[in-house]
């Protein structure tokens, strides 16, 4: 019986870990390409969650279906935020971008947090569909449909991103810009437009993750910081440079968190991730899967 609880915990950990991975992939893309650390990434995820919630509450659109609208909505929000804010950071030298983007991101996070409270109250929200409570059972382990669906969607999204970045000309121009923006510029890549695209894609990925959080779990205006932290931990665990590595980092964080709950109790769940974060920074600063 206790072993079953461990297995069940591990499965839940992996299911939520896929969302950690999806949240981190967007942040990692923006950081890798623009050298901009957007600490309001979790707020963008929160907005994606509300978009999905309202699509469901107001129009009754299934959260998995409304991803087709949530993702483009957040893509456009990403364009607006880049044009209005983050583009100014990209005009700075690379060394100065991180600290300036931190300040800008904190400001933006505060604004978005408060705006969300004003608009939507501080209530905890979550999407309850007809199939929300349903679960498959595999050898005594419960597999809730919504969370399994979320995991599958996260896998598909991350695979699609990987193929886009490696197989298409535009995707390669994004990777080229991430490696060396001056080299990108001299082969004819429009670096500013590439930054805009990367930021919009990063925002859209955050939005997708948020939508999945609102159906498998719950959202409120304050979840931003928590998700930014999760994404940062995953990036440090996984290292930069590979989309697949980031996904693996997310799954690992989810698994370790839930196993820790089994052994040392739920009170330390959040601490475990931070301890891993510090250990990896100390022992293997390039990350477990970084190159």
């Amino acid at each position: 019986m206790p072993i079953d609880a461990l297995t069940q915990g591990l499965v839940f950990g992996i299911l939520v870990g896929a969302l950690y991975g999806l949240a981190a992939v967007g942040l990692s893309l923006v950081f890798g390409v623009m050298r901009v650390l957007n600490v309001a990434h979790g707020e963008l995820l929160m907005i994606g969650g509300y978009a999905s919630f309202w699509f469901f509450s107001l129009y009754g659109i299934d959260p998995f279906v409304s991803l087709a609208a949530t993702i483009p909505t957040l893509f456009v929000i990403g364009i607006v935020l880049h044009r209005g804010l983050f583009v100014h950071v990209t005009k700075l030298r690379e060394e100065d971008r991180i600290k300036n983007s931190l300040l800008m991101g904190f400001g933006l996070a505060l604004i978005l947090d408060n705006l969300a409270i004003r608009l939507w109250t501080a209530d905890e929200r979550s999407i309850t569909t007809v199939y929300s409570g349903a679960a498959a059972s595999l050898m005594g382990v419960s597999l809730p449909y919504v969370r399994v669906g979320s995991l599958l969607f996260a896998l598909v999204a991350i695979l699609a991103l990987h193929l886009f970045l490696t197989r298409t000309y535009i995707g390669r121009s994004i990777r080229a810009t991430a490696e060396d923006w001056e080299a990108a510029a001299i082969v004819g890549i429009n670096v500013d437009r590439t930054y805009l695209l990367a930021f919009a894609i990063g925002t859209a990925l955050a939005g997708a993750a948020g939508a999945l959080v609102s159906v498998g779990y719950s959202i409120n205006p304050g979840i931003g910081l928590e998700w930014t932290l999760k994404a940062l931990i995953v990036i440090v665990l996984a290292g930069m440079g590979s989309v697949g590595g980031t996904l693996a980092g997310g799954l690992l964080l989810g698994a370790v968190e839930s196993v820790s709950v089994y052994f040392i109790g739920g009170a330390y769940r959040e601490v475990v991730g931070l301890v891993m974060f510090l250990l990896v920074l100390l022992l293997r600063p390039k990350g477990l899967f970084g190159n």
Partner: protein, 235 residues
């Protein structure tokens, strides 16, 4: 075909170029020589659009470049082989070459250009699936030149292509530069190896402290007293 007309260039508050004027005619090899920190790299970066002149203008086939972004300048037909090569290290040789043909004009003729690049550098074809970081210095320089050629330049800007390479490889790189030039590509060549550059250059400019201080044919430069003592090791 290329005219720099009295350009001043700054890095933040620090002025690096003062009133630099120079020209490259169609089909020419032109050399820029000068000691460390003279401003040679800055001249090439400014032509390529990575730095912007605060004063003066750059014209290419009559078109002003000074307000154009780097990606437009490549499309107009100027390719830079930068100092330190700046390859996409984690990408393969093939991916680097394909990115070289990123602009609209070059992309359509990518395969034909690549055939030519492989003729010039057969080794790149052999190594096409290797990542750029795993190449030797000479091979990386070949790739940097090959990537620039993929944009189908009319003018090739080369920043110290022989730096840090073994003598045999240096010889090969210079041969290739002549070969490329014979195909009608004009060349603006920055070299520490002034002797080799002047031997091949129709004309040359001497750059000192951010200014052009001398200009003559390559052959005359080789006999010039100041050039000999300052840049040709006194011989």
């Amino acid at each position: 075909m290329l005219e720099c007309e009295g350009i001043d260039v700054f890095y933040d508050d620090l002025q690096a170029l003062w009133g630099v004027s120079l020209s490259v005619e169609a089909g020419e090899i032109v050399a820029l020589i000068g000691s460390n920190g003279a401003g040679k790299t800055t001249i090439l970066r400014t032509i390529a659009g990575l730095s912007k002149p605060a004063k003066g203008d750059i014209k290419f086939d009559g078109v002003s470049l000074s307000k154009k972004p780097a990606y437009d300048i490549v499309d107009l037909g100027i390719a830079l082989v930068p100092e330190g090569r700046k390859l996409f290290g984690s990408m393969t040789v093939l991916e680097n070459l394909e990115l070289g043909a990123f602009t609209g004009r070059a992309r359509g003729e990518k395969n034909a250009t690549m055939k030519w690049v492989y003729e010039v550098f057969p080794l790149l074809e052999e190594r096409r699936n290797q990542t750029a970081v795993t190449l030797s210095g000479g091979q990386q320089q070949m790739l940097a030149i090959g990537r620039a050629l993929m944009s189908q330049p009319k003018l090739l800007l080369l920043d110290e292509p022989s730096l840090g390479l073994a003598p045999l490889v240096v010889q090969m790189i210079f041969d290739v530069i002549e070969q490329i030039n014979q195909r009608g590509v004009s060349v603006l060549l920055v070299e520490q190896n002034a002797h080799a550059a002047l031997e091949r250059a129709a004309r040359a400019y001497v750059v000192e402290n951010g200014r052009v201080v001398g200009h003559d044919t390559g052959q005359n430069m080789l006999r010039h007293e100041h050039v000999k003592s300052a840049y040709l090791g006194g011989v």
